[in-house]
Symmetry: C2
Subunit: 231 residues, 2 copies
């Protein structure tokens, strides 16, 4: 996929933007682990050391990559500025989620690197402003920011994804494995059984992360709204 980029028929001049865009594309296609200076260079039809002309180091490259993702996030939210505060926040968080789904590696990279892209501050300032407009005290707005966690970025750090859970079930021993699983984890097994309405394989597809994202978001918004009204 990135191979055609090495095509030198035209070879327009490199630029920081092109480097970062290629880096994002590479991470999207093959994961952030494949994003290496040498590999990125060959994708761009250039030698590895040329990249250092546009990026001081790999760490800076990663920061730049995160920066472009959040620029994308800012661009994806045209901000109608109309409607209730809850729907405004909701709309924007869901827009962020759409962006993150295109860059599944971004959350992990964000938590790994300590740095925060500059656009994020403006984003949070908008969130705080929206809360204050809605009658939140500064104190409650502060609490709300923390409570939101990573929801403003469109991802809930759910560690218990079904993909990571029962990913490797040997078809031969699956039945015995499931029986052992039911014994070791009775409550989870019962819960999964209840939640699987309709036919579907047991390991995948019983979680609709979109629905659950919105549930969590609404749960928090409801709770905050209740605290806001109570004073």
């Amino acid at each position: 996929m990135g191979k055609q980029m090495a095509d030198k028929t035209i070879r327009e001049p490199l630029s920081r933007e092109r480097v970062l865009a290629a880096a994002v594309a590479l991470a999207d296609a093959e994961g952030v682990k494949a994003l290496t200076m040498r590999r990125l260079a060959t994708d761009l039809g250039v030698e590895a050391m040329s990249l250092y002309f546009y990026v001081p180091s790999k760490e800076a490259l990663l920061d730049g990559v995160l920066g472009t993702v959040f620029a994308e996030l800012a661009a994806a939210a045209p901000e109608p500025a109309e409607g209730e505060w809850r729907t405004r926040l909701r709309r924007r968080f869901l827009a962020a989620r759409a962006v993150m789904l295109r860059h599944p590696w971004a959350p992990g990279l964000l938590t790994t690197r300590g740095t925060i892209p500059p656009d994020v501050f403006a984003y949070f300032d908008w969130i705080v402003g929206t809360l204050l407009d809605a009658g939140f005290s500064h104190h409650l707005a502060h609490r709300a920011i923390h409570a939101f966690g990573s929801l403003p970025f469109g991802f809930a750090q759910e560690v218990f994804s079904p993909a990571a859970a029962g990913g490797s079930l040997d078809p031969d021993t699956a039945e015995a494995d499931l029986a052992a699983l039911a014994e070791a984890l009775p409550h989870i097994t019962a819960m999964v059984a209840h939640e699987m309405h309709g036919a579907g394989d047991p390991t995948l597809g019983w979680c609709d992360s979109q629905v659950e994202f919105e549930f969590t978001l609404d749960l928090l918004l409801d709770g905050l709204d209740r605290l806001r009204a109570r004073r």
Copy 2:
């Protein structure tokens, strides 16, 4: 700190447990980035290749490291099995937080690696069981698990930590910088100003993450309790 470990005066035989314990200690002391096969080996007073006798690969080493952290988490929660469901969950989540504070690198490692330590499943089964006992439907228990996010592990993925925010303020230009900041981020600046009761430097210490962790946790527990009662 790990240097003394290279002392070969006694040199009791290596073992998988010792290797993993040394790896955790190294990550605690110098971060997960310093945890390299070669460095870990010298800490243990041994050659790098010897580690492969106890661990098949570095990826497996990292998984093992996560495993020991979560074993620690399981051991830290003696589970009195008494009290209301909310206090039981609260107690356990806060115990998890105490463990994670000792291993600040663990959350990032957990999200980076796709794998989930086996102990985690039993842990979540206990959570689900506690919810079901309290009268939660299977459906709501499922939603709750997702809503909790990474709170059961004792960390909220708060991206907006003040440390990462204003970490590098040049003392010479701090005043001008703060003025520019106030213009660019008016709402956040106002919020910080309101939240800083008492004297303290502007960049640090205005967030008490313990308090905010508990606030978020209670907010979720309250919301879930309300949904539970409503049927």
